[in-house]
Symmetry: C7
Subunit: 96 residues, 7 copies
Amino acid sequence: MELKIKPLGDRIVIRPVSGEMKLASGIVLPDTASEKPMHGEVLAVGSGRVLENGTRVPMEVKVGDKVLYSKFGGTDIKINDEDLLILNERDVHAIL
Amino acid sequence: MELKIKPLGDRIVIRPVSGEMKLASGIVLPDTASEKPMHGEVLAVGSGRVLENGTRVPMEVKVGDKVLYSKFGGTDIKINDEDLLILNERDVHAIL
Amino acid sequence: MELKIKPLGDRIVIRPVSGEMKLASGIVLPDTASEKPMHGEVLAVGSGRVLENGTRVPMEVKVGDKVLYSKFGGTDIKINDEDLLILNERDVHAIL
Amino acid sequence: MELKIKPLGDRIVIRPVSGEMKLASGIVLPDTASEKPMHGEVLAVGSGRVLENGTRVPMEVKVGDKVLYSKFGGTDIKINDEDLLILNERDVHAIL
Amino acid sequence: MELKIKPLGDRIVIRPVSGEMKLASGIVLPDTASEKPMHGEVLAVGSGRVLENGTRVPMEVKVGDKVLYSKFGGTDIKINDEDLLILNERDVHAIL
Amino acid sequence: MELKIKPLGDRIVIRPVSGEMKLASGIVLPDTASEKPMHGEVLAVGSGRVLENGTRVPMEVKVGDKVLYSKFGGTDIKINDEDLLILNERDVHAIL
Amino acid sequence: MELKIKPLGDRIVIRPVSGEMKLASGIVLPDTASEKPMHGEVLAVGSGRVLENGTRVPMEVKVGDKVLYSKFGGTDIKINDEDLLILNERDVHAIL
């Protein structure tokens, strides 16, 4: 499901996932303690940050990706009564 | 309504919206607490920031957009007895 | 009236205006408290800051413009017994 | 063994090695104390950081490399019950 | 009078002027208090700072100019028993 | 003797030398106190740091060079029971 | 006399001069107090700092120059029992 909001720059909107996450690749992420990176699903992505030559860096993450991210630097938002998170792509560690 | 002032660089002028915001897209934003991002309507936009190659980055937001923003870094102004806000586009998280 | 001094880089010289300001566009700015942005008239402008490619960014403000600015970062000067202010164009929020 | 996760930018995933490490090159690394650089095996690598001209810097490390790294700045993750580390290539001192 | 020393980069040498300064342009600068910008005469100028493309930015000030400057960041020197000041062109606010 | 490890970026591996160092050029460095720059022999060098245009800066030091360096910023490592140092080329003051 | 060491980047080696300095140009620098810039003779110069386009900035100072410099940021070294100083060209204020 894609969210009908358009993040600016290299921002993305994430729906945090609590508890274990089982992936097709066989990876199972345990319930994360608060000081560890978190995982979640990407709901919306921006157009990418602008380089000094005027072009945009294509986003590495896309809607639907499961990602591992650091909450530090992100911003909590509430949309349609759901708690979501806006953060910059640079705070995403990896696509799972 | 466009405001007859010209923000410089990538600055924009925002009219903050208090209380719930219902959008055509079906998004409903709750009344925001002060430590959360705020939402509002864009009244004026600048020409964009200048890159080191001398060109300007086209603004992603335009007059009339509903936006989600961080007030941190913005500047309160009062025009025609209305409380408005000037902030840089980089403090806007998303277009709603 | 243009002041016969030449600000360097992207500096400008401003004559601060106290009290309300009535503009053709109908905007009236109330008397500003000290922690708010101030308004004033531009008396002199520099040639613009130099980019890493050696060209200068054309100034967005020109002599005679009414501007909204942050005093923070500016420098008070006294010329012909008048209190003026020198500041960088990046401290100007908007042209009124 | 390559891990089925895709680090972003110039991030890599490392499996820390404890105790002495004997290499084919004849190098023997002692058991490392916590304030010294650590050694480990690279399990996954990103696409490289993006330069201001839009190209990516090719990664110097590849999957399977034994590396000497500084833990400072890295992020602990747990995948399939194994304690791993995500860090930027700039925190890798050398390939062994 | 040009001083026989060659400032490096965008440095200039200034002879501070104390007391009132009357200029041909009709500008009168009062005696400056220590926390205000100072005025003086330029005795020597450098070749200009080097940009990342390898060219130098031509100096805006030249020998003989009367300038308004911030002493902050400058360096006191004594040459032929005269107290002079070396500072970077970016600390010069305006040419009078 | 070249060490079989590959430093990343502009890193180098140094074997610190204690006491006086007699060179063909006749330079003799006295025993250095801890707060002074140290001297040593270069055992391995990286490929050089990457510039924003994607090219690498050729290393100025090469394996076998005697160098004067600041330990500040370097990282102690122990390889084959020998205490060595990894540091960036920018922490090397001069080739002796 | 040129010293047989090769400073890296834009570093130079200086022999500090104490007391007055009489120059052909007639400039005489008085004995400098410790908090003032110092003067000395350049014994060795590096190849210049590398710009982001990969070229080096030619050094402005050359061996044999008498210079005025700020000791702040320099590094004391002792070579052949003589106390010398290594510092970056940007810490040199002027060639005398």
